[in-house]
Symmetry: C4
Subunit: 193 residues, 4 copies
């Protein structure tokens, strides 16, 4: 299960580069690239998010004694959410600065894809923790609270981004970027039971 | 053999995302995405099918004591069928709702690709079982019957889909989707000999 | 070295599917696909060739006691030849039936890419055999002759294909397809020293 | 961490093939391919650079006793620089021979991507060496000087390429090609502490 999951993560994170489009000629290349900044921002955020989820996925799965069908299914759902991210990123990059309805929709879907990933990862996480009896910062009530907050925070922030996208799609970038940075700094640390 | 196969499965399942096309501008993005629904349905079905075959592939191969040339060749045939699926999916997604001859052909080829995969997987399965003397639900006659039915079912359903595609391509989605869900719920469980 | 090489093989073999193009609309889909037959033939040949080289690569590398710089470099050259194959395949598929100069050039380059791969693989093979003191069918003079013939055959056939392409590009398909089938049936078997 | 990194390296190095474009018809295929020479040169350089970094990455990581958050983060930064290279290569290949501002910008970005990779790899290297207490040619002052020069050289050459690109983009190819060859010949050799 791990080598397959690692492969999907690695391919999906690398396919993000296909979302960076080489500008067609006819005007200043620097200017054309500068106009593509949401593409680069979305690429960087998606890259960090997939990278962080991969690190956490690894930490969580190492505590699993034996994969059963439910866990495999939850893992497949997580992988599907990972695979969808390059698509949502490409759509966001294409429409984010167009303004109007399309940018709102693209922003909401970008946030929605990350929310889908947060939900599938949390589900997998809960399933694995139940089976492994490992504890994630849960030895004491403060750790447990912190752990709950951490998981809740991402889901909450992504959920908030969906209506936020209808105000301004670029706000989604700011919030998702902030969440990505937060998760880089505060990664899941799993303690064996 | 396993790491290479895992790699091919992982890449093929992730390449499916390239079949999801970002709509070009000029009209409502939500409307354009809604019109692309067969693309998303085909993506989801192909994703689940490759995922399920991967899980089963893994379960079957772990019983194999030593890979010989025939098994390697059968495995390569299975991998070729896996690699073809993103192509068949892309073609189906492109033509499914166009109606007319093209949608029928695309539906038949989508089902045909899944049939090809079912046949190559069954072949590999039989070859490995003969070599490993492992038994798959075959300790008793009921298990054996169930196992035969399970394998037969997928092949039968996919084969039925081919003429069905000439009635309506969308019916193919419904049947293949049903088979995918069935295989998620009833996965191969291999018992060592 | 193995996991990286396996990854490159797996990605390259799967990227071949991107060479299969979904026909654009406007005419009969079956007819359009039938016209694309060189695409499918080239895909199948390249798939089998990469698959066979992967199997042999694996067999050869398992005898290597320790990778040094020369072997790593030879391996990188082989991987570059593998990575180039989807490009040569795409070009061949695009031009093979156009006739005229372009089809000849594309055929010659398709054969040339396979020749490049045969040369880099033979180089790696010789280097590894020298280090591992393993013997490949070389215990007796007949085995040694057979082994030399086998390696020579592929290189010779690919080299012959280059002028042959200037007669008719489709002949290249026939010869390369024949070589691929031959290598499936007669794989390298490495005997430890 | 290794299998994921290996996967990213393998996918990125293979995706480089997507930067090789099949010429569209309408003129001599050989001539069209000859005009694409910067594409092939950039492909080869990027291939060798990623390959060399992968070999060195492997050598460095094997000395790491245990991955902590800082190392994981530095590794993710390196992987991001690797993933960006196919994009920078594609842009360079597209604009290198166009002349004018676009070729200068594309050359500078191609060199900049390699500089980014050199910086992230050096950072990872320093972090891992501190943790592993392994020494890289540092047993004696000469070895230490040589090691520093080696790392400095690449960064220096890439940095020099950025202004150089504004003289002539093709000079970037020459310098980066030279650095790639140098790194193939003088790879990092890590000695356990």
């Amino acid at each position: 299960m791990e080598s397959f999951s690692d492969g999907v993560f690695a391919v999906a994170i690398t396919l993000l580069v296909l979302d960076l489009s080489v500008p067609s000629g006819g005007r200043s290349l620097i200017g054309a690239l500068a106009d593509e900044w949401p593409e680069f921002a979305a690429f960087a955020i998606s890259f960090v998010v997939i990278g962080v989820i991969w690190v956490n996925h690894h930490a969580v799965l190492t505590t699993l004694p034996r994969a059963d069908r439910t866990v495999l299914f939850a893992n497949l759902a997580l992988l599907m959410s990972i695979v969808v991210i390059p698509f949502a990123t490409a759509m966001f990059a294409r429409y984010a600065t167009e303004g109007g309805d399309a940018s709102h929709t693209a922003g909401a879907l970008f946030a929605g894809a990350q929310l889908f990933m947060a939900i599938t990862f949390s589900t997998l996480y809960v399933l694995v923790m139940r089976r492994s009896h490992a504890d994630v910062d849960a030895a004491d009530p403060v750790g447990r609270l912190r752990s709950t907050l951490r998981f809740g925070l991402g889901g909450f922030a992504y959920a908030v981004c969906i209506p936020l996208a209808f105000v301004n799609a670029v706000l989604v970038l700011a919030v998702c970027g902030g969440v990505a940075v937060y998760y880089v700094l505060d990664q899941v640390t799993v303690r064996p039971a």
